[in-house]
Symmetry: C2
Amino acid sequence: MRGAQAYTLADLIRENARRFPLRTAVVCGSERLTFPELRDASMRAASALRDCGVGEGDRVAWFAQNCHRYLEALFGSAALGATFVPLNWRSSSAELIRLLGDAAPKVVISQRREIGDVIHAARATGAASQATWIDLDDDGPNGLPSRLAAADADDPGVDVDDEGCAVRMYTAAFEGAPKGAQLTHRGLLAQNLAQIIAQGLTPDDGYLNTGPLFHIAGTMFLFAHLHVGGKNVMLPRVEGEETARLIHEERVTSAMILPPSIPDVVEAARNHGYDLSSLRTPGMTGTPEFEEWTRMTSRSKGIPAGYGQTEASGLVTLNLLAPEGTGAHGLTSHVAQLRIVDPEGHDVPAGQTGEIAVRGPLVMLGYAGDAPEGSRLRGWRLCNDLGRREADGTITFIGPKTELIKSAAENIYPTEVEIVLRAHDKVRDACVIGVPDPVWGQSVKAVVEPVRGEQPTADQLIAWCRERIASYKKPRFVDIVDSLPRTSAGGVDRDAVKAQHGGGGTVGAGSSRAEPLAVPSSDDR
Amino acid sequence: MRGAQAYTLADLIRENARRFPLRTAVVCGSERLTFPELRDASMRAASALRDCGVGEGDRVAWFAQNCHRYLEALFGSAALGATFVPLNWRSSSAELIRLLGDAAPKVVISQRREIGDVIHAARATGAASQATWIDLDDDGPNGLPSRLAAADADDPGVDVDDEGCAVRMYTAAFEGAPKGAQLTHRGLLAQNLAQIIAQGLTPDDGYLNTGPLFHIAGTMFLFAHLHVGGKNVMLPRVEGEETARLIHEERVTSAMILPPSIPDVVEAARNHGYDLSSLRTPGMTGTPEFEEWTRMTSRSKGIPAGYGQTEASGLVTLNLLAPEGTGAHGLTSHVAQLRIVDPEGHDVPAGQTGEIAVRGPLVMLGYAGDAPEGSRLRGWRLCNDLGRREADGTITFIGPKTELIKSAAENIYPTEVEIVLRAHDKVRDACVIGVPDPVWGQSVKAVVEPVRGEQPTADQLIAWCRERIASYKKPRFVDIVDSLPRTSAGGVDRDAVKAQHGGGGTVGAGSSRAEPLAVPSSDDR
């Protein structure tokens, strides 16, 4: 809707400036912005973007790390009816070129200081060369700080459709290339309300943004805290002392800190006397550091988790709504509808596995550039994931219908890695599988059949992949085989490869109590 | 929206049947329906309504007391894309005829047993004679029970626009006749989420519906409890023993019981040993019964209240979101936007009074039959109410811009009563004002200037009104005067009438901590 019934992302920042005139909205390094200050900064960003030609339906790309400017650019873009496109800053140059070619942004906000080499290559190429590139840290007249300082803070007053696309978020590839899920204002705001209810958030809550903001997992929690009038604290990466200091000084109540990072945070808190008691965690056991962490922090109801996907604006089921429920992934949220269906689209009985289908405002408008989705189930999104409804109505996510490797919370589609390997001139064919990893859930293993007479080494192939795709997608292990097992139809028999080469650790395949739609707190892997 | 992004009222009942297969949705006398049973009954109601010719955009009127059938008819109507129109069963025949003429329903569900005389007259007249009348209690083949039993429970599968009108609710007249506010699926569901957050509702909550369901005040809480998976208990009117018994047996957690009814409930609980401890109330003092009530019940955070109006799907600000805030009526809810503006539509500074304007999904589509509202403030609904934003962002409602009498929670517009009085052939002119009433806030007083030489009595004029408008709108007091005070322009000087005849008790004019958008628990006044 437009007009008097509308509620857009820009309306949220306008309203929160009215509702919470005295509260801090965001903290980033030495910058602190109240809600009115964030509103004014967002309207200045809107003016600066409009001066670059951005209007309704245009794209504004963000290729930089966590920063309060992310919020200003996002709300500024929303105020113009444009689409904000946060890109994975761990992408290779080749990937970035492909993403920018797909997004065709009018403006790219980037960060040469951190990720200069990748940008240098991408900037000169294809569609991206048409865009206005604005550097986040450049103090010169074309850098973001100067442009914002020169822009006026008047509200552009554009009447934006709240069912239009506010954010385009690229998801891991099903078919060898990421696709841009088009998420609406209405869907993102509905997700906020679902999170506020499940987590019991209030304006006194504060969220430490350690996860990358190009994934729905992190932004979902950021937006929910912002919506309720809480405080967001920005941190580009988890570093023990800085994390502990911010929790102490900002009275952070929630943060995504994965187990490998915990000992450093505990040590910093111990050494500097930082008080972590504002932080709510479920508590951990197993090592002295985990037990100290548990003593230092307060108890939460549990980590907010459930079943979800980027294409549904994040979580669709919520563990915290049904902590005593049978299903491992909780109850369908108050803003979503969920069915478990057979291949003909009929509901399967409770206790039986079927495909998960969702409906409601959370559902994306479709992938950018695709024709509107023709679903086998009219009026529903079929999620390509398998699940089961329990007798008490709660949901258990079983696993993806399509083969998927999950390393920490990164989705790695084998097809994408296989395409890169097959492009190597010593490789005849390749099959990529997930193998269990004690820290990250799964690691990537490539089983490679060389061209006859060639003997590629594991190091060669890993380096080949690293140059072409994000580092976390490259194989960690490579097995060279004479020939891959094949099905009678001649295709690679993936199940046989997994059985012979140690495949396993697939997400949702049984035990995990709740599958966090979470991001790793460190990219050091 | 339609299709995969849609979430309608009918979708809510479908989804809750999936999410809460084992939970009780509604209790009404000896009837108990789980969520799947309520879904099936609602789909049967849809079939029965379709058999009467009801389709998308048609109206289904409800003129009966609180009953589980209300929910079935409402969700059945929603599943067809029709509009459900709950009518005030305290209307006179003349009022009912006018309402039915405006609504032009395809079907009227009525209740001869309780309100037979009024129906008898209305049924034969005008537009209403074209409708199919279905009696709620008639056991014959044309009664509601037989029609529902004969209908099939298959989902009609209509793809309904969730921004279309789901419920038309008539509000007290600004200009002498009630107008039908057209409320959307999306707006009503958004209100539910706001209430779930403010009240902290869970599936273990139960609501006792004592208030009439033709007012947004009652339905707002009914729907919120239904949305979260809680239980609704139906009760046509507050009667001490039945109220106490239902609280005890159904573990009711919330109910709208006004102070005059409390002594009877306390006595029944005492005499029969009913346990009222599940009920959350703010506690009361002042009489031994109130103190016993406080001991018998559990403490709540406070009565959910705030500023709102039917045209905005209920409450727009919520006291429970800011119990410590400066403003008497709390904080703007998480699904609404609110501004305080001057006559030119510019924001007035904090601390100054202006007109309240609202925006977002809660806002009605407009009054039925009116041209789309041309607002002085583009993209906002101007509420015709005065308010103030405090320095901390919270809101205080000052009072209506238009003159209004509030008796309990019924809105009585003087204009409407004056029109009736002037139609009496002994009355030359009349001015109707509110005077303070220790129980109901205000009572209605008419100051009447007779036709020269005539001497109407108070009893005559009260009886005249009772025949023509709802009993609660009739004057309780009548002063006969030689001539009404006039302004220099010749109109009646309402302020002078109030000063001379004891006017006062106007809502919002100062002290009340929170103005409940609440309905009286008894119609015995």
